[in-house]
Symmetry: C2
Subunit: 249 residues, 2 copies
């Protein structure tokens, strides 16, 4: 089995309410790589945020006292900090200029995923899609209308504890279960596997990044040849560790 | 640019001091996919441990009092726990039956990477290679002797905080720098990128897992078409976050 990974480039400028699925399909056709049945599409969250209007004008934001004081200490824009706080369910660590938060979805990442660099305009920031699983399902449905059966992973770039360098991970999924389980299977010596579950969607997101490069010039990667079982009820929920089971909150 | 990923299977049983590079090259030829210049080889640490004799007979291990008492509480083999402790520089979390440790290399993972399931024999466990960067360099050199210029990533399967499911990450590298830096680059709007460094070797390891499946039936993945700059001095050191900069120790 050989897996192929390639990027889709040449998407037109994306605006709120654009037909993202149609644009991806058209760009793929134009570059001679039409999206095919059983492809997995890895879609950078930034373009999903743009389509869904998840951009906030800084001029419209009134920062709180807390946002102002911390922004002042660390020479940050208090309006951006205010948006980060509003996107957060909980601050996990706030140390020096670093702010690690749990987003309303339950993802833990720097600045709650608020992105100042990719908004496409000065004075505006992008926030993560409100419901990235729903975004993924909408794209999968749009491709079904176009006659193509694809799984969709919405990806973002997160840091992690202990290891330098960020990697792309999944924040939304449609069509396939996010984890692959070995639970109950045994190796040839009768031991249960030490590896119990692989987070396949995170591995797909990471693999997609290899052809995307950063900064959304190639905002979509196609992974072809990866076998997946259809699961129309799939969401990222099983990837969010129960806080009771988490030693690093 | 299209990246191709495929597995190398059909390796003979691996024993201490086997010519691993020669075996990988021969198996690749036999399956009609000879290793080519500029391929990246993702090699599961288990087979490297076997070649390097990193197997420990449980019968030879005298557990400490501490190992015995904790193993007793959690119904574990005290000799395995003793090996985990010996492989550890420091215990990061010990909670319920879970033991997260920092290995002598500086990696943080469950059970210091001690693997009971893949040793190939009852009563024996595998530990991580002593110096996985050196293991990767030896493989890269062996391929150079065979006339092929490859980068090598030694991979293992680690859990992570906050997210369920494990993913493959790099624990050793040769030939290419482990991180790709955007530092000092600017987007079209003049903002510095929020993403500063990508951990490309972890993304390559994750991508390789997609064709390896677990349990070493396909212990090597070839990633073809990924561009990398040669760096003969590369090691994993830049990926190990300075404890001073780590909020989750």
């Amino acid at each position: 089995m050989t897996i192929q990974i390639f990027g889709i480039s040449g998407l037109p400028e994306i605006e709120a309410a654009s037909d993202l699925g149609g644009m991806i399909a058209a760009s793929a056709r134009k570059q001679g790589d039409p999206i095919a049945d059983r492809d997995v599409l890895i879609v950078t969250s930034k373009i999903v945020s743009k389509v869904e209007g998840c951009a906030i004008e800084l001029a419209d934001v009134e920062p709180s006292e807390f946002a102002m004081s911390w922004a002042d200490t660390w020479h940050k824009d208090p309006r951006v900090i205010e948006i980060v706080l509003r996107q957060s369910k909980r601050i996990v660590r706030q140390s020096g200029p670093v702010l690690i938060a749990e987003t309303h979805h339950g993802f833990i990442c720097a600045n709650s995923g608020v992105d100042q660099s990719s908004s496409g305009a000065e004075g505006r920031v992008l926030v993560l899609p409100t419901d990235p699983d729903a975004s993924a399902r909408a794209l999968r449905s749009r491709f079904a209308e176009l006659g193509v059966d694809v799984a969709v992973v919405i990806s973002d770039t997160f840091g992690r504890p202990w290891r330098e360098g960020q990697t792309d991970v999944a924040i939304g999924v449609a069509g396939m279960h996010p984890l692959y389980s070995y639970i109950g299977q045994h190796d040839p010596h009768g031991h249960e596997f030490e590896v119990q579950e692989l987070c396949v969607v995170d591995e797909l997101a990471a693999a997609g990044e290899l052809v995307k490069g950063n900064v959304s010039r190639v905002p979509v990667a196609v992974i072809r040849g990866h076998e997946w079982e259809t699961d129309d009820a799939a969401t990222m929920a099983p990837v969010l560790r129960d806080p009771q089971r988490d030693l690093f909150r």
